[in-house]
Symmetry: C2
Subunit: 401 residues, 2 copies
């Protein structure tokens, strides 16, 4: 492992599995009797528990947001660019909590878990969970950790939707809501891409209606395809162009096979973008569960908190005092800046305090995971104010005690 | 059939199959010994053969561009909005020729044709053809029809790329090049979508390495998926929103299932956009050949005429005197207006005469097939000048004779 990466990070971290025995009623009407949540925490909770930050993950994320699991670990957690000592989400100042959401495949109860009813994996019988269900389970996690109020709840993409839901469902339990590269609900095009991804998985003959575990198979090809489709929507066209370099032979700047400079006139990959996507899709399919992928795309599709407010989302934000930071990226065409501005307009209509940062970046939707300087600086500046609030509050509580 | 639609159209048309016995050398180095081209023509060729217009089709098009095949025919040809008596491409003024390209599946020689070498369908052994190969075959068709010079060559999307190729390969054989919703070459993102579509087809277990005809199977699911992906890229996000109406229950305007207004909490389609795409994909898969789809996506990927000009496309246009009309649509994100402006800039650099029309439309890439008034008016105005040139030329030739 790169020792300087380890030193710059939260270090070697240990996930924890927390069991919840209280039944969780779901939006679908179903009930999960008991469940596990895998979590990681970074930093120290202060005396008055005012410096806790919750990180909500996106489609393919999990509880491992920062640091390394061992000395041999090659890659840090998925948001190590943002979380760590002296980083934007500063582990020297905050007690940072990240969990794998219900329905996930990284240790929390989900389709790969054993269904106590029949001793087999839940598979497709695992109920569809919504963002609201997730946030309810996260609130129980906060209870478990003794955190009455988060200093901030932070998330990108689907994570940002969880942040919005926190501000609606538990308006008194967070001081700041940081919503990055998100949208108030999916567009028709977003849903269409999700549907094609789902069909890729379910039409794989190895899918067996989701009971592939019992068949000793795995819809690898279908999940690979689904991820390839997703991946195209995470990258901007210009990011793709950048990433694949300039092809001197053709003037195309997205990578004809440079080893030969020639076209195959066959169906093998001619361009680097093709082999790159295949590689990305396959490596994802080796580590992610297909039923979880199906489930979480539905979680995305179903997100629309305005449904309880006659379609007027601003009414959802009339309660509570939390402040908002909304961040978007110029080249994100999955949830473009205009979707973030919808959120901002909604919050302004609800007379909420909101800061908005639109970051120039050609990183596409994935920019929220990347070390884009202006983004990290903006996030850092905002969170240093949040950290000061926590420090002041803790000081007051010290004096009081 | 709708009698007024018939009356407004070129009427009942009869395709012709034309056999070519001269071998066609391909860009890949392979040779097609002999081949058939299916064509349709509308209108009358004038005395000096100066009013002939060639229509080049896009990925899923064919020779049937206008009119009806029988009284019972429900749908007219794919460009009936543009082609017909008094329409933008006026069959009262022009002799309009449209063909199914080589490698197609509507009657011209392609993967579904019998390979004389073994008496079986070519299937995956049909060679990959390029836009240049197509244009060479089209030039032979012009020879066959006795057309020395087209008044105009017209095409949208991949059709527009054929038009560009005409102006490069046969600069003296066309007076006007009309390039609609096209690009000088594909972007990395375009290629990525094509690759995912191809993988959808080739990973279908019914594909059998393209020999599905012999296996009595058909990669229906794979082709359906491929078309669903394509279809998303043809429509704009706003067009999708418009198309699926406003959902009164949720405020979402892309069609939650209106029959129940409720979410399924399952993996059936919840939103109309999902069932719409499935329907579109499936109906396409019933009438189109999967090997042709594979082949034509490669034809698209390979298009890059700058490759013979050290990457400087403007050098490709230094020959000939033909004039250009370039048309783009504001909401087309497959080949957006900036790609058309690249073409325009290239032509200006080559000191060619070019008109450019950027049409406001929320129809996405598909707008080139739709009756968008400003588009049809612009095309019509341009072509009426072209028609006058033909009429004058014909008159002169009458006087001379």
């Amino acid at each position: 492992m790169n020792q300087s990466a380890l030193k710059d990070s939260v270090g070697i971290v240990q996930p924890q599995c927390i069991h919840f025995d209280e039944a969780l009623p779901l939006r679908s009407g179903k009930i999960i009797d008991s469940y596990d949540l895998m979590i990681e925490t970074y930093g120290e909770l202060n005396a008055d528990k005012s410096n806790a930050v919750l990180i909500c993950h996106a489609l393919s994320g999990d509880h491992h947001a920062a640091g390394f699991h061992s000395e041999e670990d090659e890659k840090p957690g998925w948001w190590d660019n943002c979380i760590g000592p002296g980083k934007a989400i500063d582990s020297n100042k905050f007690f940072i909590v990240c969990l794998n959401n219900l329905g996930g495949c990284a240790g929390s109860t989900g389709p790969t878990s054993i269904n106590p009813a029949n001793g087999k994996p839940f598979g497709p019988d695992f109920p569809i969970v919504t963002v609201r269900d997730w946030v309810n389970s996260q609130a129980r996690l906060a209870d478990y950790l003794g955190i009455e109020q988060w200093a901030a709840v932070i998330g990108g993409s689907l994570g940002g939707m969880q942040v919005l839901r926190w501000a609606i469902s538990y308006p008194e339990r967070l001081r700041h809501a940081i919503v990055i590269a998100a949208a108030p609900k999916l567009s028709a095009q977003n849903i269409a891409f999700n549907e094609v991804a789902r069909q890729s998985i379910t039409s794989d003959p190895d899918f067996h209606q989701g009971h592939y575990y019992e068949h000793g198979t795995y819809p690898k090809k279908g999940l690979t395809l689904a991820r390839m489709i997703g991946h195209i929507t995470y990258l901007s066209d210009s990011a793709m162009r950048e990433r694949f370099g300039k092809d001197s032979l053709t003037g195309r700047n997205f990578g004809r096979d440079l080893s030969t400079g020639k076209l195959n006139f066959g169906f093998d990959a001619d361009f680097q973008v093709e082999s790159y996507l295949q590689y990305k899709g396959e490596s994802f399919s080796n580590k992610f569960d297909a039923n979880t992928y199906l489930l979480i795309t539905k979680t995305l599709d179903y997100f629309d908190p305005s449904v309880d407010y006659e379609g007027d989302l601003s009414k959802a934000f009339l309660q509570g005092n939390c402040k908002f930071l909304v961040v978007s990226f110029s080249s994100d065409w999955r949830f473009p800046p205009e979707r973030s501005r919808e959120i901002v307009d909604t919050l302004l209509k609800a007379k909420r305090q909101v800061s908005y940062l639109e970051v120039e970046s050609d990183g596409g939707h994935d920019a929220f995971l990347l070390p884009v300087p202006r983004y990290l600086e903006g996030l850092s500046a905002y969170l240093s104010v949040v950290a000061n609030e926590s420090a002041n509050s803790s000081e007051k509580s010290d004096h009081a005690s």
